[in-house]
Symmetry: C3
Amino acid sequence: MAETAPRLNLIILKAIFILLLGCSATNSRRHRRQPCKKLVFFFHDIIYNGQNSKNATAAIVGTPAWGNTTILSGQNHFGNVVVFDDPITLDNNLRSPPVGRAQGFYLYDKKDIFTSWLGFSFVFNSTEHKGTINFAGADPLMNKTRDISVIGGTGDFFMTRGVATLSTDAFEGEVYFRLRVDINLYECW
Amino acid sequence: MAETAPRLNLIILKAIFILLLGCSATNSRRHRRQPCKKLVFFFHDIIYNGQNSKNATAAIVGTPAWGNTTILSGQNHFGNVVVFDDPITLDNNLRSPPVGRAQGFYLYDKKDIFTSWLGFSFVFNSTEHKGTINFAGADPLMNKTRDISVIGGTGDFFMTRGVATLSTDAFEGEVYFRLRVDINLYECW
Amino acid sequence: MAETAPRLNLIILKAIFILLLGCSATNSRRHRRQPCKKLVFFFHDIIYNGQNSKNATAAIVGTPAWGNTTILSGQNHFGNVVVFDDPITLDNNLRSPPVGRAQGFYLYDKKDIFTSWLGFSFVFNSTEHKGTINFAGADPLMNKTRDISVIGGTGDFFMTRGVATLSTDAFEGEVYFRLRVDINLYECW
């Protein structure tokens, strides 16, 4: 019996060594890039242009000296600030029943190409999802895909963080666009 | 003596097993929902309306085509952007000595009901608190309580994250409102 | 042989005790204040003033009732919202080759002193850095240094968090300023 003790001790020492590695990895905060939750949504933005007040879900509210708040300004809309309350759908159909609202603002921030900056929330209040996901980041919208940050969440998305990949699924002139949002959450509480 | 060694080994093995559970829980980033810090504040917003320039702590700075920057617009103020520098107090009295300033902006973002989106900071510089807490999120202000994200902090609130619960403690027409903010921080460094 | 086993067990027990301390420290989320990455950049803001449309990298897009979007308003520019697309350089020379763009907005939010609130991204697309760093926070710009939050990142800066220290490196009237940004990241994935 006493002869097996040293052998067991060796196994225990090995286990401790593995634990030390694991814990030190945790302490140094290098995390695994495996999403704890994946979600895909679409949202639909209809910009007020002076003639569509019934359907519009967004409006220009800020503009540089050379523009106005009815029509998106020249120079790739540089300086236009847009407030929106857009329906979120599960597929790419504007007529699908909305599962939530995308609410917040975007602004165009480059003169020689379309680029925007976004600060907004997904607000859910359905049987499937309750709570909000908050986003912020740069959207160089001529790129096929672009990444913004999930900076927080509440309710079902309590304290979450992650990355959302945006892609323009459709657009019609300067009145309508539809964004596909692939949300990858890496912190789930 | 040698007979106790195996028994001790069993205890050690159990301890290692508990450690493995604990560490793996940490690695998978499922955290306990126990706040590491709780704070309650009130802040007071007096909106400029063309006649109260001395007292006003906030002003409309963005508006849709159908509004102006002196009076909050129709359609539940949709599209109004407001910049503010509001006193923070420990109780619900506007005249109490402020312990800091709430600074940033909110915007109204729904046509058929009052809803807003907030981006702001609590800025403290007193003996009790030094530093800032940064907030962002959707505020469906007709709800009794609503949650926004604490997205970061500096100074005493270095790197913090959490959730803040807002409730409208009082309002007077379209000139004054007071928000109670229950801050629950879940990441403290 | 059997006599060394208890001594070894004592060592093992000590190791477990240390592990317990380490893991519990991790679980309570008290982290070391040691940056995992440090970066220093400068960015340059040239505000449109009605006469410099070729050089301007920023424009006033929001203003209170008492101001306009061509000239920064009185009362320490309270209520002015500025959208920018500023070059980022490695040194303090505006003519140095930009390594990225600082894109987003700031707003002035105090009547009796210069204070602003910032929401913006550093957008990199060079051989050295690819991806974005997202920032938000209060900037009491009369202070020599002030801290804002790094609220997220993408690409090379995937999921990062930290604190950025701003200092005004230079300014010329109300047309140009240059900020030095010392970025300290405390979460690196």
